[in-house]
Symmetry: C2
Subunit: 369 residues, 2 copies
Amino acid sequence: MPDAPPLTEAETLARLRLARSRRVGATTFHRLLAEHGSAAAALAALPEIARAAGAEGYAPCPEGVARAELAAGRRAGARLLSFAAPGYPAALADLDDAPPLLWALGDPALAARPMIALVGARNASSLGLRMAQRLAQELGAAGFTVVSGLARGIDAAAHEAALASGTIGVQAGGIDVIYPAENTALSARMAGQGLRLAELPPGTQPQARHFPQRNRIIAGLARATVVIEAAARSGSLLTARNALDYGREVMAVPGHPMDARAAGCNLLLRDGALLVRGAEDVIEALGAVMSAPRPARPMPPAAAKSPPPGPAATDAPARVLAALGPSPTPEDALLRTLGLEAPVLAQVLVLLELEGQVTRHPGGLFSLG
Amino acid sequence: MPDAPPLTEAETLARLRLARSRRVGATTFHRLLAEHGSAAAALAALPEIARAAGAEGYAPCPEGVARAELAAGRRAGARLLSFAAPGYPAALADLDDAPPLLWALGDPALAARPMIALVGARNASSLGLRMAQRLAQELGAAGFTVVSGLARGIDAAAHEAALASGTIGVQAGGIDVIYPAENTALSARMAGQGLRLAELPPGTQPQARHFPQRNRIIAGLARATVVIEAAARSGSLLTARNALDYGREVMAVPGHPMDARAAGCNLLLRDGALLVRGAEDVIEALGAVMSAPRPARPMPPAAAKSPPPGPAATDAPARVLAALGPSPTPEDALLRTLGLEAPVLAQVLVLLELEGQVTRHPGGLFSLG
C-alpha cells in the first residue's frame, strides 16, 4: 500500500470507535465513511442518524473503550491495520464488506504476495491432511502465501506445511485468543514466521457467529479458495460461497462419493468448481491471472469506495427463498416470478444449495430445505 | 426394430461373407452396402474393387466359411443380428462404424430399453466395486439396462448387481469364448437372464486389439457411459472417448487424487465429464433426454446409411499429432496451422489427452506423449 497515506492518530481512533459502535457492520462502516468523508465526521453524525432512525439514546463506542482496545492490541504485540491505510491487505480493498480494521501479528508483507486459501474439515482424514500438506508445500514453493483459519485438521496441516514459505492465519476471535488450544504452539510460530490477522478486538472469545465473518476474510485475501475435504454442510462451503461472491476462483479436491468427508467437495465440483489433483492444477488455473501484469490500480481512498450492492443483488437470495416452498418448483417458474436474469438466478440457487437452504431435484426443480 | 423387414437368408449370408472379407471393416461394410444396395451386389463387386486398388488375387470370404460360422453360432445357441434388421439394437444404428453383425445370446429386448454403460478397472478397489454394485442396482431399478464388458472387477460387479433388472455383456471374442474364465458362471447366467453380444465369429479368442472394438459397442449402446474407477491410461478411458465420439454422455465417479485408481476418472471430470455421486446424478442428467418423447425415427434402410465422416473429421487427430512435437506448442498456433475450427481442435486435444498421446501444459500448450 505504498500509495496510501498513513492515517492520523485521531482518525485511527475515530475509525476504531466507528467500527466498534453498535449496529455498524463492515458494509455500514464503509457507507458512513464514504458519505461523511472521514470516520471522525461519521462518528459525529452517528447519534443524529440513529435518532432519525428512531433509536433513542444511541451512543457510539466511547473513546475510552477504543483506547483500551489499542492498548490491549499493543500489549499483544499486534499492529492495527486500517482499511486503505498502509499495511492493509490490498486484496481486501475491493470487497464491499472489507474489514474496517485488522489486528496483525507477524509479517504483513506476506499479504502482499498472491495468496491461496486452503480450507477444509476439522475431522479430516489422513489422506486429506496429506493433501493439505502437499498442496501447501508446493504452492508455497511456487510463491503463493497459504491462507487458512488456524483451525484443527486441514487448516493446521496447511499452516504447518507452509510456515517456511509463508502463511497467514485468520482468527475468528481476538488476536491474543488462541482457539483451539492445541494450536497454541503453531499460533506462536505463525506470529514469528507468518502472519496472524483478527478482525475482532483483542480478548474476544470466538463464538459460532464469528466464524462466517472470519471465513469471508480468508476468501477475500485469496485469489483462489481450495476446499480440500468438506462434508455436505460445512463452514468450508460457506468460505467457498464467499469466494464466489467476491469473484474469486473456487477449487476443490475430489473424493470418493462413499466418503462423507468428500461430499462438500464433490458438490462444489458438480456446481463448476475446478477439480484439483495437485498444486499444478491450481497454478495452471491461475497462470493467466498470475502472468498478466496486475493493473496499476492504487488503493482507492475511502471516500471513493464503491457503494454497497443495491437491493437487486443483495435481495436475490431472500427473494428466491421466499418464492420457494417444500414442494419442488421449476427454475423457469422462479425466473418468471422473480424477474431475475437467468445467470443470476442460477448462481443464487447454487449458493443456496451450497448452504443447504435449497434442494435441487431432477428436471430443474427446487424446493426449500 | 418393428419397422425393418427381415433379411432374406441369401442376403444374411452375403452380409456375413462381406463382413468377414479381408480389409472390410465396419465403416467399409456400410459404405459398400450403401454404394451397391445389397451385400450380395457388394460382394460381387468386391474382387473388381480390390483389383482396381492394386490388390491382385483378392477373394472375398468363401461361402463355406460363412456357413460354418452360422452353424457354429447356432450350436452355441446364439442368434445373428444384422445391421438394420429385426432384433438389431436401434441404439447402434446411427454409428458410422456400427457392427455389421452381432451374435446374441439371451434376450435382445434388453437392448430396446434405455441403456447405461458402467465401466472401470479390472483391479478395482472395494469402494469401486461397491459403487458399481450400487449404481447397477439403482439404475436397474430405474428402468435402465446396464451394459458392460464382462471383464473382471467393475464390469463383473455391475453385471452381477443388474442381473435381476437386466444387463448386457459385450464380449471381445466369440460369443462362446468366456474370458476371463472366472466369469464362466456369471456368463452362463447372463445368457439366461440377460444378454450377451459378440461382434466376432464364434470360437474367436479375444486378442488385445479386439478390446477397443468391443468398447465402442458398449459406448454405442449406452445413452451414457459412467466410468467408475480407472487409472490414467486405461481401456475405460477409450470407452469414454468412443462415447464422446458418438455424442453420448460421459460421466465419472470422482476419487481422491492420491488414489491412482481415480486418476482416469478425475481426468475425465477435469475435461468436462459429469460428476456422479450416485444413481440420482445419472438419472437427473438423463432426465431431459428420457422424459422427451423419442423422435419417431424408423431404422434407416441400409442403403440410406449416412456416409462415413469425411477426411476433415477423421483426419483431425492424425493431423494434430503430426503438428505436435516434444516441445509444447500453443493451441492458438495449432489452430492457425491446421485450419480447424476451435471447438473441433479442443475436442480432438481432449481425446488425444485421454489416450495419453498428448500432454497438456499450463497456459494452453500441448506436446506429444
